[in-house]
Structure formats: C-alpha cells, structure tokens
Amino acid sequence: MATKSKTSGSASTLERRGLTDEQLVGILRTMLMHRRLEGRGFELNRQGKIPFASAGEGHEAVQAGAAMAFERGKDILVPYYRDLGLDIGIGLSPLEVLLSLFARVADHSGGRQFPHHYASKKLGLYSISSVLAAQLPHAVGAAYALKYRKETGRAVLATVGDGATSEGEWHESMNFAAIHKLPIVFLCENNEWAISTPLAKQMANPNIYERAEGYGMPGVQINGFDPIACYAAVKEAMDRARTGGGPTFIEAKCYRFLAHTTDDDDRTYRSREEVAERRKQDPVPTFERLLVEHGVLTAEGLEDLKRSVLAEANEATDRAESMPYPAPHDLYTNVYADSYQPWR
Amino acid sequence: MAKTDTKAKGLDRHGLTDEQLRQIFRNMLLQRQLDNRGFQLNRQGKVPFALGSEGHEALQAGAAMAFNRGKDILAPYYRDLGLALGIGLTPYEIMLSIFARVDDHNGGRQFPNHYSSKAAGLMSFSSILAAHIPHAVGAAYAQKYRGETGRAVLVTCGDGTTSEGEWHESMNFAAIHKLPLVMLVENNEWAISTPLSKQMANPEIWKRAEGYGMPGKRFNGFDPIETYANVKEALDRARTGGGPTLLEGMCYRFLAHSTDDNDMTYRTKEIVAEARKHDPVPNFQAVLVDSGVMSDADVDAMKKDVLRETNEATDKAEAVPYPQASDLYTNLYEGAWQPWQ
C-alpha cells in the first residue's frame, strides 16, 4: 500500500496536475507570504518588539501545495505550530498572523496563545496547544463527526512534524481512524529535525510512511519541496477521504532551514554545511524559476508579486502593532461558558 | 494464519529434549489447574477475584522455555501465569497472590496475577495496560548500556494493549537503540468484550514491525514448540546485539476475562467451542504420547502430581495470615517515613 511519488516539479518540466496558472501563482504567493511573515517574526523579535517567533522555512512548498487541496468552507484543518503557510493558504490573513505574533486583543485567542497557534472557527481551523500530537485525536474526533453526520464531501487535514509521530497519541489516532475508515488525511511534514533531535534518534526506520500499512491505510511519501506533487498527493487523499475511502498517511520530505525558534541556536547541534547543502534545494526560488521558465509568470510579474507580498506584510505589521494588548481583566474570561467567579 | 494442531505436523523438536518437552507440558497442566483453582476459590467465596489464561498455555510454556533464568528479565502482563511459572515462580507463590497473604511478594497489595519477583527477574507491574512496556524498554536499555550481552528482556502484552500510545512509544525507542528486547504479543482476539476488528483495522499486528525498523513475525501460539523456537530465535538475537523483535503469537481466550465478566454477553458459545477444538493442552498431550515422549501412564501420573502440588499450595497459602493494618504504611519511600496526618 505504501508508495513513493516521483518528483513532478523540476526546472525542466512542469507537470501541472490540473492546476491553473492562477492556482500556480496562488501557491507561489502563499509561499512568498509564508517566508515573508516568518522573516518578519524574527525581525520583530530582534528589534525587541515581540518575545518569540518560530518559522517553517523549508515547509513553504508542502504547505502551500496542501492548502491548495483544501476546500474552504467545507474541510477542517487541524494544524501544528509550524503551519503558517497552510493557515494562510486556507484563508488566514497576514493581519491575523501579525495579531498572533504581537499577542494583541483582536487576535483570535485574544493574545493568549503562543505565536503561530492560530485558530479560526470560520475557516475550519482548529485550536491547538503546544503539546505535540495532542491535536491528532481531536482531528480524528472531528472526522468521526463528519462521518457520523454523513457529511460526504468534507474531510479533515491533520498535520504533524516528524518528531510528533513518536507520540502515543499519533499511534492511537492512526489506529482509530483506520478502524472507522474516517475522512481524514494525516500529513507529516518531515523536516528531519525535532528541535535538536535528528530523525535517526527519533526513529529507526526513517520512512515514516511505511508505518501506514500496519494500521491498514495507504501510506505515501512525497517530495515536500515540490508544491505540485504535494498538492496532487493531498488532493488525491482528501478526495478519497471525502468520498468514503477512508484515511491516508502522507509523509512529505522537507527540511527546517532555520533554528527551531528565536530561542534556539541550531549551530549547537548541526553544521552550517549541512544547512547550506539543503538550502540549495530551497523550494521558494526553485518554484519561482519553474513558473517563470514555463511562462506562468514573467520576471516582472514575479517582482510585482514580491512587492505586493511585502506591502501587505508591512501593512499588516503596522496595523497589528497599533492595536492594543488585551486588558488585565481579560485573563478571567472564557474559562467556562457562564459568567465565572474565579475562586479567590 | 490458521491455528493448526501440532499433532498434524509431527514432532519437530527444535532442539528440545524429552525432559524439556515434559517440562513444557507440566507447565501447561499446572497453568490450567491453578487457573481453575482461582475460579473455584472465587465461587466458594474465598477470594474476591480471579482471572485465567486458558488458551495461552502453549504460548506461555513455550516462551518460558526460551527464557534464561538468572539472566533474562520478564516484563509480563496480568494474563501470564504460565510465563511466571515457567521462569520459576512456584504454585505456592501463585496461591499467595490469589489469597493476598502477607508472604506474597507484594505483601497482598496487588490484584491476583500481578506477580513480581526480583529473584526470578520478574518485573512488577500495575493493571494499567501497556504501562509496563516502557519499563521493559528501560530495563533493556540498562542491559545494553552496561554491555551485558547474553541478557535480554521478554515483554508481553495482549492484542488490545497494542492500541495504547505507550506501546507505540516503546516499540519506537527499542528500535532506535537496537535494544535487547522481545515484544511478544499474545493475540487472543479479545480485549474483554472488544474483538480484534474493533481494536485495529489491520489484524496482523506483526506487520507493524517494519514501520519501526525491526523484524516482525507471527506464529501459532497453540503450538508450544513453534512458540519456543520463535521466542528463542528472537531472544538469542537480542542477547547478541541484534536488536528487538516483534512477535505475535496467535492464541485464544477460552474463558471470560475474569470472574467479574460474563463473556456470553458479547460472544457466542459456538465461537468459543470452535476455538476449543484447538485446545493446546490435550493437543500437546497427544503429541507427546504419539511421539513416545510420554506414555499414557506418565501423563496420568503427571496430572496427579500437578493436582497434588496445587492442593498443597492452596492449603499452605490459605493458612498464611493476611498482612496487618500497619503494613499499609511500609515501603512508600526508602527509610523511616512519617505519613502526613
């Protein structure tokens, strides 16, 4: 059942997998915005404006591709904290992202959550904690609800990094989803690093997708630097899920170019050479070149796109920064539904 | 995999001597006798609880024969009477556990069948499923860390326990570190009332091994010799630096989960009767008699001896006192300790 897909997006060929020019440019814009907003987070941190930021550089392609397979208004996304590209790809605005970074009152969580722990009920974007794999049972429960209500045409996309596949809840979730043939796609963004822990210390068999068979579901491994291949694999799996075909496990091989967060110094555990070597495959310039070379976008069009992304990011930054923090008394709301008298 | 009768295949000894074959059979008889004794005592109102491993006799007696006493470690679960006996626990120790007497290894604290014996290399465990598997992995890590080749950890669980997160976490860690560990799943097809089909979508548990990067194998757990051979091979690999193995022994739970369970609420007599046709105890008896390892008279004598030993153990354990109320307060921490009052 486990399959490996071939790479579909090299500079020499463009296999569209049904994607229109507009969709291809949309994917690139998500990738550019992803990188821009994460860069912004690091800048704001260095400027002392925010205490913390993290980034998914290297995950742009898998996330933008997967997001293109997500049906807005129907599907549910249960992400993890390194999914900025997926979140904006399904409709989260740069302003909402900056509100999270700045922890402002207008943020979805009211400035409670760490940055990048987005939630938006309107978008079908589930609320998550920082505890790894803890969101997967929720995704399975949501998928169960879809199946129970016979809402075909809907599915859940649930993501994790490679490290979270070591958690018991990952196993329990895979098992339950397979037993009940639930409409869910587990997308593992394998970036080879769990903070400082390399894949070799995370698991003995680095091909995570090979576990799928043991659970009785299809497993697929894809090149996570190739947004079109990611789109195609996720689309195929989501379509199967939406039509009663049950769950799929997808492993997208990518790489974490930056340190884990602004609090992490990755020079303590991996060499600059390793990172530089992997940077050669950086999916963002690669995909830019691909679209330009195949005439989907002109060189000028690309520059315009980058300018518009920068302008939007700047505007979102300024707007979010100008908004107020939550008030001290906001600490006490939404503990329970009814007006709650805290024990004192 | 079909659970075939050993008889039909003739006798492939896998290096086992006549004496070892008789030991395996005696263990199987003793398991059944002690299991029944627990249920009888419960019906007589003498003990509040018992559970049985009928259907697991061959698997456990065979696996225990591959265990190196004084070297290996066993991390069992609560349906492992035959493994406990096979690695050296006495029927008397079993009865002390059933009666919760003061001389029981854990001083009458634990539920029956939750044996532990440091001398026997039998690790203490709770009733929480899969919670003992990380402990087994930790013990295997210690062996490897200290360079103790020639030792390994045999850890067991039922099919239901493979659904727990801790099962997964343990398998993964054991594989990463190539630990001297054998994970033996005793697949009896039932987790109390939950059949395999509600426990997992792919009923072949052994196939998960590849995903973890370790060998996996399924075998007929109704055949004690086949079990012995598979467990021995895996333990030998573990003892010599070859890393962990996932084994799946196919058996069946003939009885209800425990004296508190009525299995007729969730499965039919017919299903159980069908499985009983492959009952490993009479089957292995026939194998030994047919192949001349034992005569009918030998078998009868052994059965009498097993009954005698069970009766003696029962009487002796029953005569031992309960722990005292003051024993509630011991062994919480090392050294003298004053409970909060």
């Binding site: 409670r112 589930y126 505890v131 949501a142 939404n334 | 727990e164 939950t194 722990p323």
Partner: protein
C-alpha cells in the same frame, strides 16, 4: 419504600443508565465511547443493549487507548457532537491526563471562546470493593486544581441523574465521578423525565447545630449514618453533600460553618492536598473567627492506594464508627 408519584426507585448504576439512555434517545449528537461500552454494555452493564438500539456509530467500543478516548471526544465536541467518554476505571485515566488537563480544560480559554469542549468524561472511582491498587483510587484531587474543568461526584441516585443531565447539557468539559461501591448499594427515588441539578451546588442532607460535616461520594452515606447515631446521643450534626467538587459551593459551606462554628471534612481520597485542604483553607480565610474549634479532616492516610488484602483496605478507608468518633470529639471540643 413508598414511592412518590412521578418517581421510581433506582440504584446509582440504574440512575446512570437511565440518564444516559434518555440522553441518547433525546439527542442524536450524543455519542458514547469507551472500552467495552458496546457489546459488553460496560463492565458494570450500564450501557447494556445500547449498541443494539443506537447502533455502533453511537456506542463505540474503542481500542484500549485512553488518551485518544478523551482526545477523540474533544474533537467530536469541537465539531458539534456531544460525546460522553468513559474511562473504564478511574485508575486508567492517567494516560489521558494531558487530554483532560492540557486540552479539554483549555480549549475554550485558549481559543478565547471560539472553540468549546462540551464533553462528559464518566468514570467509576473509589474503593471498598477489593479493587486493590489499580481499581480503587480516587482521582479528584489530581484534577480539581484545573480551571476549565468541572468535577461532579454525586452520592444519591436522584443527584446522579440530575447532575449527569446537567453535565451532558453543560457547555464545558465535566469529569463525572461515580463511586463504584455505591453503584448497587445505594438506592433512592429518582424523578421521571429530564431534570437537572446545577453543577456547583452542595446539598445540606441533614440539618444540625453543633458541627458541620462536609463530604462527597460513598462517605456521604457513612457520614450520615454516623451523624444519625450522634443524634441519638443528643448531638446535632449538619451534613453537607458537596456533590460538585469544582466549582465548589463556598456559600453553603460558609453559611453552615457560621451556624455550627465547627467543621469536619471527610473524604476517601488522601488527606495531603485533598479536597479537604482547599475547603479548610477557604474556611480559615473567610470564617476563622466564626470557628470554635480547629478544622478537622478525616481522610485517607498518606499512602498511594489501598492494598488488595482485606486488612489493607480496611486500614485505608474510614469507617462510620471512625467518622462518629471524629464528630463526637469535635462536638465536645
């Protein structure tokens, strides 16, 4: 027992069963999931035959995986179902600790109200049944520290029904604790039809003047027995059944203490860090100068659990006689 019109006599297990049945009947968003809840109908037969009537999609025999039993229920709740998750014995809840404390209790708070988690987690707890180290524990103190979670531990069948209905209707996660020794031991009148008892309201089950006794679960019954015995000796003891552990009904406790001027808290869970510790601290903060005697707690000794052997269980648990002694001592103080 004379039965009031519109009521019937049920034991606690029947009260749970009837309430779950009515919830399943009245709302098809209600899903029951847990180990052996389907074909077996739960190990205490609470959901016997539910699977036949409501089908396996609504009565889910889960794999043995407690973290995901709760976690999947959280996801179901976030997606609009009304799951009732069962942990077969409270002792098995530890693997689900993160999903209860880290996830369910924080869903509303962390999303600032956008996502909610209307979820009931039912579990049998408590001892006196020869359940040994892993089938006897009390878990309430491990969870009552957690804002965002509600904890209910009723003692009487009518409260079981009213509070379980309230828990099912509640928009937030509720840990519903059922004392397994009371399951068949305790019978009482239960009104027909749907009704709720507010979570967070204690019940004065016996009025008295000289001492306030606060308890919950099985010990409420034993405390009542002891208090009635003292009544015959001419002493007047007020008994409060806490019913809800979080939120806690400070008003009922304080009103009673200000009347009786003495407080005894009795629970089966360990004394150290137990529910009694919080009640003591609260009363000491709010009503110290109303007290005529030191606050007393009668609770389990500071050991991990009751052992299997009978003497170990007896030593761990408090008896009605010990309760009566503690009450007498305090009344006479």
């Amino acid at each position: 027992m004379a039965v009031t019109a519109g009521s019937k006599v049920l034991n606690n297990v029947e009260a749970v069963r009837e309430t779950l049945y009515e919830a399943m009947k009245s709302d098809d968003r209600t899903i029951i999931l847990g180990e052996d809840v389907g074909a077996r109908g739960n190990v205490f037969l609470i959901t016997k035959d539910f699977i036949n009537e409501f089908g396996p999609e609504r009565v889910i025999d889960t794999p043995i995986a407690e973290a995901s039993i709760v976690g999947i229920a959280v996801g179901m709740a976030m997606e609009g179902l009304r799951p009732i998750a069962e942990i077969q014995f409270a002792d098995f809840i530890y693997p689900a600790f993160n999903q209860i404390v880290g996830e369910a209790a924080k869903t509303r708070y962390r999303s600032n109200g956008e996502y909610t988690c209307p979820l009931v987690i039912r579990t049998p707890y408590g001892g006196g049944v020869r359940g040994a180290l892993s089938h006897s524990v009390s878990i309430e103190a491990l969870f009552y520290h957690v804002p965002g979670l509600k904890i209910v531990a009723p003692a009487f069948p009518a409260d079981v029904k009213g509070l379980l209905n309230a828990a099912i209707d509640d928009p937030d996660p509720v840990l519903f604790l059922e004392h397994k020794k009371t399951y068949r031991l305790i019978k009482g009148e239960v009104p027909e039809g749907h009704y709720t008892i507010p979570i967070g309201k204690a019940n004065v089950i016996k009025e008295g003047r000289q001492l306030t006794v606060v308890s919950y679960g099985l010990y409420v019954h034993w405390a009542l027995e002891a208090a009635n015995q003292l009544e015959n000796e001419g002493m007047s003891v007020e008994v409060i059944d806490l019913r809800s552990i979080r939120p806690m009904d400070r008003t009922t406790i304080l009103n009673s203490v200000e009347k009786t001027r003495k407080l005894l808290i009795i629970h089966e869970d360990n004394k150290f860090g137990g529910i009694g510790a919080e009640i003591s601290a609260m009363v000491a903060e709010e009503a110290l100068f109303s007290l005529d005697a030191p606050i007393r707690r009668l609770a389990a000794p500071d050991v991990p659990a009751m052992g299997y052997a009978e003497p170990l269980e007896h030593e761990y648990m408090s008896s009605p006689a010990q309760m009566a002694d503690a009450m007498r001592e305090l009344v006479k103080f």
